[in-house]
């Protein structure tokens, strides 16, 4: 399944605002998390369900029908004993038997149709929920993804939705059924015998009070258990992911002891939680039996005094059982429904976040075809007011120029490109391309004229051809192959068993990193953007592979304004302009030779990389 992504060392601190981390751990047992706004969430799930109106109406009708049939049958059974068996009426016995057979047959048919239709209703509802969530993920800003753990976002789309799905399928019809059975039983019981009904109702307060008590208590313990389970899962994940280090430092014994401690704590709480929640069954059973005994006793007494017939008491007992069942079912499902509502709430939380395409403060205009003159004027950016990531950055890039950005890790290099693509927003100062303020340009239009090649060389599962065509969906096979040739990728592709139709595995694990990078370059060539961003595109590959990639990148950069972020200064010496960034400021800028003469930061970086090698 999903989430080995919560690797502890890579956590990004939460952003201001939006939503919190939700429940930790993501334990496998049904997480008992209380929804914050239950009724609003239920209404929204209902609205989703209502989109399947046709099916839902059929389900309503059949559920009512089913409930009515299941109420009528025991009534007839009791009646049959009273009017056919006891008075020895053969003809009536035949008629009752046939009638019952018909009703039971119909009841099964109705139950099946109801389940058949409900399956589609609930699955399609979940399909829509999942689709909407995915669509929303596509609309959230990159900034959002940079500040939220991937495993957590993944879990909303999988675990949480799965929770909703399970409950919809089981609980919705069951709830409706229970409600009808409950009220129907009550009505029939009343028509059968009013005093006995009053006696039967005596157990209701008992049911309500005890189920409430148990549910409340078990919620406390389950919460506790969930917390410990989260801690345990976190520990397992961390230790097993870091197993090499554990071994290297001979920590197996210590870690096992620590684990034992956490596990024992969980065990203690777990036993309590299980016992308390397990009480529901026997207690409800007791109350049901209690009701049964009271009704039997009272009924017997009434029959003795001629206040009721035997047949009535028999059917009454059946109804009192039916009456008790939905209540204990509801009590049993309480936890399930709770966690489904909590899951739905976490999904809605995401759906309520603003789309980056709609939240523009100013009216956006369609993006014209750009030549690539980029102008940063006094640009500042910060997540928090007191710690700016970028501070008064000003520079210019002419069409076709190669601009390099160098500086230590964390100095703000990547933030510059994040602002240019409007991945991050909320800047002071202005960024213009060809004189247009990028904040006023349509985001999609802007980005389609900017190409990117990133360090992690992301590929998708699918064929090589599809991965290159990702750059321009309408490109012909010929164009795809031409792009691959220009990117120096054609050779290795030709050597693969199925050439361009070779399927890539998840994360492209059947290619080397260098090969994947060549594919992403081909993709960028095919997209033919006016502006190009190369963010540490070669820093994960060795220098010889880098040489091949360099050539491809040269081809790619021709005639485009390009921004190159690089660790190795060797790759950027021929840049038209080098920006040296330190702590969010441009401390030096100019071409290589000029910067060297300054004997400043760039010179120091350069010397430390090269002097010993010379």
């Amino acid at each position: 399944m999903s989430s080995p992504h919560n690797r502890t060392s890579a956590q990004v601190p939460g952003p201001p605002g939006a939503f919190g981390r939700g429940h930790g751990g993501g334990g496998p047992a049904v997480p008992i998390v209380r929804a914050k706004n239950r009724s609003a969430t239920i209404r929204r799930i209902w609205a989703y369900l209502n989109r399947q109106r046709g099916g839902l109406i059929v389900v309503y009708i059949f559920t009512v029908l089913n409930a009515v049939l299941s109420l009528v049958a025991p009534f007839l059974l009791g009646k049959g004993i009273d009017v056919a068996v006891i008075p020895r009426e053969y003809n009536l016995l035949v008629r009752f038997s046939l009638l019952l057979l018909g009703i039971y047959g119909l009841s099964s048919l109705v139950a099946w149709v109801q389940a058949y239709v409900m399956t589609a209703v609930s699955q399609n509802t979940v399909l829509e929920l999942r689709r909407d969530l995915f669509a929303k993920y596509q609309e959230l800003s990159v900034q959002f993804f940079d500040t939220h753990a991937r495993g957590e976002l993944m879990s909303r789309a999988t675990n949480d939705i799965e929770n909703v799905s399970n409950t919809l399928n089981q609980s919705v019809t069951q709830l409706l059924n229970s409600l009808i059975t409950l009220s129907g039983s009550l009505v029939i019981m009343l028509t059968l015998n009013v005093p006995l009904t009053v006696v039967a109702l005596l157990t209701i307060p008992l049911v309500l009070v005890s189920s409430r008590k148990i549910a409340g208590l078990s919620r406390v313990y389950f919460k506790d258990q969930q917390r410990h389970l989260g801690e345990l899962n976190g520990f397992i994940e961390e230790t097993i992911s870091g197993q090499k280090v554990v071994k290297q430092y001979v920590r197996e014994g210590i870690e096992t002891e620590r684990f034992r401690g956490i596990s024992h704590k969980l065990n203690k709480v777990g036993i309590k939680a299980q016992i308390v929640s397990g009480l529901v069954g026997p207690v409800m059973n007791l109350i049901n039996n209690l009701g049964f005994a009271i009704i039997a006793g009272t009924g017997g007494w009434m029959a003795y005094h001629g206040l009721a017939t035997v047949g009535i008491i028999v059917s009454f007992l059946n109804y009192s059982k039916q009456f008790g069942r939905p209540i204990s079912e509801l009590a049993n499902q309480y936890n399930l429904i709770q966690s489904a509502i909590a899951g739905a709430e976490r999904v809605f939380e995401v759906l309520d976040l603003p789309s980056e395409y709609e939240s523009a403060e100013e009216k956006e205009t369609e993006c014209p075809s750009l030549t690539g003159k980029v102008d940063f004027r006094d640009v500042s950016f910060s997540y928090k007011a007191d710690s700016p990531i970028l501070n008064g950055v000003t520079f210019q890039a002419m069409p076709g120029e190669k601009v390099a950005i160098v500086g230590p890790t964390g100095s703000g290099k990547t933030t510059i490109v994040n602002l240019l693509t409007r991945f991050y927003e909320g800047t002071d100062g202005s960024i213009t391309i060809d004189g247009f303020d990028i904040r006023k340009l349509n985001k999609r239009g802007l980005r389609s004229q900017i190409g990117m090649v990133l360090q992690d060389a992301h590929v998708f599962s699918g064929t090589i051809r599809e991965n290159i065509r990702f750059g321009r969906l309408e490109a012909t096979d010929k164009e795809v192959e031409k792009a691959a040739r220009l990117a120096n990728a054609a050779d290795f592709i030709a050597r693969l068993p199925h050439g361009y139709d070779t399927m890539l595995e998840t994360e492209g694990s059947n290619l080397s990193h260098g090969q994947r990078q060549l594919l992403t370059i081909a993709r960028a060539i095919l997209a033919d953007p006016a502006i190009l961003i190369l963010d540490e595109a070669t820093s994960s590959v060795d220098t010889r592979t880098e040489m091949q990639i360099q050539q491809a990148m040269k081809t790619l950069m021709q005639g485009r304004t390009s921004f190159v972020i690089a660790h190795r200064l060797s790759t950027i010496q021929d840049a038209d302009r080098i920006l040296v960034i330190q702590s969010g400021r441009i401390v030096e800028q100019g071409p290589h030779e000029q910067l060297l003469k300054l004997h400043g930061v760039y010179h120091e970086l350069y010397v430390s990389q090269f002097e010993r090698a010379v």
């Binding site: 399944m1 502890t8 060392s9 890579a10 601190p13 496998p28 049958a73 059974l77 068996v85 057979l101 399956t119 399609n124 689709r131 995915f134 596509q138 609309e139 990159v142 976002l153 993944m154 789309a157 899962n233 397992i236 197993q243 280090v245 290297q248 001979v250 920590r251 210590i254 870690e255 024992h264 065990n267 036993i271 299980q274 069954g281 207690v283 007791l286 039996n289 209690l290 039997a296 006793g297 009924g299 017997g300 230590p408 964390g410 980005r447 389609s448 990117m452 992690d456 990702f470 750059g471 080397s512 992403t520 820093s539 220098t543 592979t545 880098e546 060797s570 010496q573 430390s608 090269f610």
Partner: protein, 576 residues
């Protein structure tokens, strides 16, 4: 599954008590219809009010004893199942701790995590259910049958038709739905894959404005999955109506034949009612049983997965006469070492590697991605075991050296930086929990980490990890270097562990190291030619074989590969 039995053994008493108490509860449940019949036949029919009252009271008492049985069963089954899970979990964790990397590679980290969490919980629930319900249903089934036979053997014949019919139904449904279930799982994987890819590649998708394209891909997978899910659920939803049908038809048959029996053989009405009640109970327990079966099959999958972990044994273990005092100065020798990840794999990752690293020397290893550099150093601390040839330290074959002794003498800074949640201090102290604060600080200074640590508001007590702060790649690398230095290793291995540092910081660290680690044996893997110039020996690794070795000057003269690598990092005019 067999292996797991031993984990339940310590709790055998609870495991016996829980079902016994369940028997009490079920028995009490079974008594109710009989008592009811007694009220009707002896009380109502014969106008015996005292019998009605006393039987009513008996019913109450019976219900109460049933409660005691039910609660007791819950308590004992909870203790047994939770403790079983706890023991299993701890044993699994111990087992994983003993694994070699080859084991870990084979079982996959992500999968191991789910096995220790999800699968254990699954099994725990399974034990709980077995102790509670699985005993209940068959017991109820058999008990109802016995009671039914007692009332009327001839009416019970009806059940001879309906019960086998129910079993056949159940079998057919399971038979058809199981393949669909696994198909559904595959389709779900498909949905998750698209999702996963989109979350990790969101930057690329946005940069190329391919949101709509991806949505189309997702919607296809989503629809595909939903269609299969609908098919399976629909098939499974046949279960209930069909079973109810069989149940209800049986009841009508009982009414029919029971009515006739009442006329012809004087079967009391109360008995007839009780019989109907027992038939209902019997068939209800069949329904419960069918629900249970899906649970069992799920538990079986978990059991197999957990069993696989328990059955995996580590091939890298101490021999009984392992040397605990073999490493002194740290002279490392590789003698014709070859290595393949899979022992019967012909694809050698390393082939015929021989070299020596003497105390006080620095041996640098240079080579392309995938050349086998990291594997080579992993062999030294027996994270992987050599396939052929041998590695000796101070003359002893490392396979004969006690693992703890060996590893405590090797400081290994790995390529992938892994820190743990906890304070910075705890992280540096990881390999030597008893180190003093001063020693921790010294190690941090040597790794050029003290500066940034002191800059943090909480200094060395800054908490890292999930709830803590986030360090940059370079900062993490420096912490992991400090961690390795603190154990004062005889042999120091640095596997590309300064890649995220800028050149200035890197050269400062190198300076510190040459002061502090002067007498130890240093093995250095790097991409940067500038870092290897001073090495006493440079190995160039290509496709798992040593392509060249020598000093910088020697290689400059003799090795074309070395020149190529170097030139790729330098501007031509400066290299000449």
């Amino acid at each position: 599954m067999l292996k797991l039995k031993s984990f339940i053994k310590p709790y055998w008493l609870w495991c016996v008590l829980a079902p016994l108490l369940m028997v009490v509860e079920v028995f009490m449940d079974l008594l109710q219809p009989t008592l009811m019949a007694s009220i009707v036949d002896k009380g109502i029919m014969k106008n015996d009010l005292t019998h009605i009252v006393s039987t009513g009271l008996t019913m109450l008492g019976v219900a109460f004893i049933g409660l005691i049985g039910g609660v007791g069963c819950t308590i004992f089954s909870s203790i047994a199942s939770q403790s079983f899970g706890n023991d299993l979990r701890i044993r699994l964790f111990e087992q994983v701790q003993s694994f070699s990397n080859r084991n870990l590679d084979k079982l996959k980290t992500g999968s191991l995590i789910t096995r220790l969490t999800n699968d254990v919980v699954q099994l725990q629930t399974f034990v709980q259910i077995i102790l509670r319900s699985l005993v209940r249903s068959p017991l109820l089934l058999i008990g109802s049958l016995v009671m039914a036979i007692r009332i009327s053997p001839s009416l019970t014949l009806i059940l001879l038709v309906s019960v086998p019919l129910l079993f056949v139904l159940l079998y057919v449904l399971i038979r058809f739905s199981f393949p669909l279930f696994s198909k559904m799982q595959i389709k779900l994987d498909g949905v998750n894959t698209v999702l996963q890819e989109n979350l990790s590649g969101i930057r690329v998708i946005k940069a190329f404005v391919r949101g709509e394209h991806e949505q189309k891909r997702f919607n296809e997978a989503n629809k595909d999955y939903t269609e299969t899910a609908i098919k399976v659920t629909r098939l499974m939803s046949l279960n209930l109506p069909l079973m109810m049908l069989v149940l209800n038809v049986s009841i009508v048959a009982v009414l029919w034949f029971g009515g006739l029996a009442n006329w012809n053989h004087g079967l009391p009405i109360g008995d007839l009612i009780a019989f109907i009640n027992y038939v209902t109970q019997l068939l209800m327990s069949m329904l419960m049983l069918s629900n249970m079966l899906t649970f069992i099959s799920r538990a079986k999958v978990s059991g197999d997965r957990v069993g696989e972990v328990l059955a995996t044994t580590n091939e890298i273990a101490n021999s009984h006469d392992s040397l605990t005092n073999a490493v002194h100065v740290g002279q490392v020798e590789f003698n014709k070492v070859s290595f393949a990840y899979d022992s019967n794999d012909e694809n050698l990752v390393l082939e015929d590697i021989s070299f020596t690293a003497k105390p006080g020397e620095t041996v640098a290893i240079l080579g392309g991605t995938g050349a086998g550099k990291s594997t080579l150093v992993s062999l030294m601390s027996r994270i992987y075991e050599v396939s052929s040839g041998s590695i000796t330290i101070d003359g002893s074959d490392i396979r004969r050296i006690d693992l703890e002794h060996l590893r405590k003498n090797i400081g290994f800074v790995m390529q992938q930086t892994i820190l743990f949640s906890g304070t910075i201090r705890d992280n540096i102290r990881y390999g030597r929990p008893d180190a003093t604060d001063e020693e921790v600080k010294q190690a941090a200074i040597a790794a050029e980490a003290d500066g940034f640590i002191m800059g943090l508001p909480e200094g060395y007590d800054t908490i890292l990890g999930q709830r803590g702060i986030n360090l940059s790649g370079g900062q993490k690398q420096r912490l992991s270097i400090a961690r390795a230095l603190l154990i004062q290793p005889t042999i120091l291995i640095m596997d590309d562990s300064t890649s995220a540092l800028d050149a200035v910081t890197e050269s400062r660290i190198r300076g510190r190291l040459s002061q502090q680690m002067g007498s130890s044996t240093n093995i250095l893997i790097t991409q940067r030619v500038s870092s290897v110039v001073d090495a006493d020996r440079i190995l160039i690794l290509e496709n798992g074989v040593i392509a060249a070795q020598g000093t910088h000057e020697e290689l400059l003269r003799t090795s074309e590969v070395y020149q190529e690598i170097r030139q790729s990092q330098l501007k031509k005019e400066e290299a000449s």
